[in-house]
Symmetry: C2
Subunit: 231 residues, 2 copies
């Protein structure tokens, strides 16, 4: 049996929960709090962060990068030219590079410029042991950057079927994971970005998304539209 160490509002963990759902992998979830890293968890991942996929015997796959590629390496079926087909990194090397460019965009750029500041200021403040002095400038900047990222998603959704091209890929899941955290925190002005909204509605209606829509933190409930497929 496989276990995924995660935190419900960690976008990296969410991207992997979505990928696991798409590949139809059954896992048990083990919740960790990113600001309270236990000794036991450091044994699992010395880097101290989620997600971690724990497999049979001593196997530990640490971090969204390693897990997303591992799932692609071991799922789908061997195809032509040493490539695996039916994975979340579809197509030829050039197409896969475009998927990875966008995964990097969300897992690195979006996270640093928008996601992390908003999450820390809006959520972590609600946990006494994680609380820091709030920084209104940080959340203002995060919100401003979020709008720029939403424009970019709209631009991509306008020009393509899915964010990286003709097929759904891990780029869609990574982007949707980050935006779903912002949506839980009621930070996404969807009505201003109709193309991003239409794309998000498509990802949100996939069966792999359902478990995320059921997440509820005791310290903060999501807005009513969060779990609504017709938001």
């Amino acid at each position: 049996m496989w276990t995924l160490y995660h935190f419900p509002l960690c976008a990296f963990s969410r991207s992997i929960r979505l990928a696991l759902g798409e590949y139809a992998w059954e896992v048990t979830l083990d919740e960790q709090r990113p600001w309270q890293v236990s000794r036991d968890f450091l044994e699992v991942n010395p880097a101290g962060y989620v997600p971690v996929l724990k497999g049979p015997s001593e196997l530990r796959i640490c971090g969204a990068y390693a897990i997303s590629e591992y799932l692609a390496d071991t799922s789908g079926r061997p195809g032509r030219g040493g490539r695996r087909e039916n994975t979340l990194f579809p197509g030829k090397a050039e197409a896969r590079a475009e998927v990875r460019r966008l995964v990097d965009w969300f897992h690195r750029k979006f996270d640093e410029e928008a996601g992390r500041c908003i999450l820390e200021e809006k959520l972590y403040q609600r946990y006494p042991e994680a609380r820091r002095t709030p920084d209104p400038e940080l959340i203002r900047l995060g919100r401003e950057n979020l709008r720029y990222h939403l424009s970019y998603v709209s631009y991509l959704a306008h020009h393509r079927d899915w964010l990286a091209g003709e097929r759904m890929s891990f780029a869609d899941l990574a982007a949707a994971a980050h935006l779903s955290v912002m949506d839980y925190l009621e930070e996404v002005p969807w009505e201003k970005y109709p193309e991003a909204k239409e794309w998000y509605a498509r990802v949100k209606s996939r069966p792999s998304f359902r478990p995320l829509l059921g997440d509820r933190l005791t310290v903060l409930a999501p807005p009513a539209h969060y779990a609504d497929l017709d938001f």
Copy 2:
């Protein structure tokens, strides 16, 4: 002909220059300054960062993640089970996951906790258009974290032939790229970490490393030992 947009002391760019050297890919280098992103460069990579590998016609591979995987996808030779052999992500899926865990360690954790603070405080200050108010607390913290990361490299080098296992991989190149930037800035107390030093000396003596040892910024020269293989 291929072009690599890079900045000489960008660790992400360096990791790709090393990988290109290992795969024996000839590229032309085009230097960019990370703090001065031109409109022309934003056309190349809307994310605004280096490295970017520009190929024939419209092909642009953006970011160290996409480039490192693209090079592996298109180099080596097709092997058993849909796997490519003789790449910088060697072995089975589990072994490759370990390579990627460590790449993530350096490209994300090391960069955030040590590399970026030290680079900005020590180098960027020397460019009038990039200068900010120096923050002595930031560089102190970066140096403290650098020691922790050096201990981890020593630990890995003690237990394994190469950082991720029996074979040299992109994990070694990513780690050496980040440490080589710190070394240029004379920030690495090698004598306190003999196992890390022995491993670094092995990576440093590879032909792929030679171009990096020749880098010289006009605003700041490296220490004498920087290019010395018997440092």
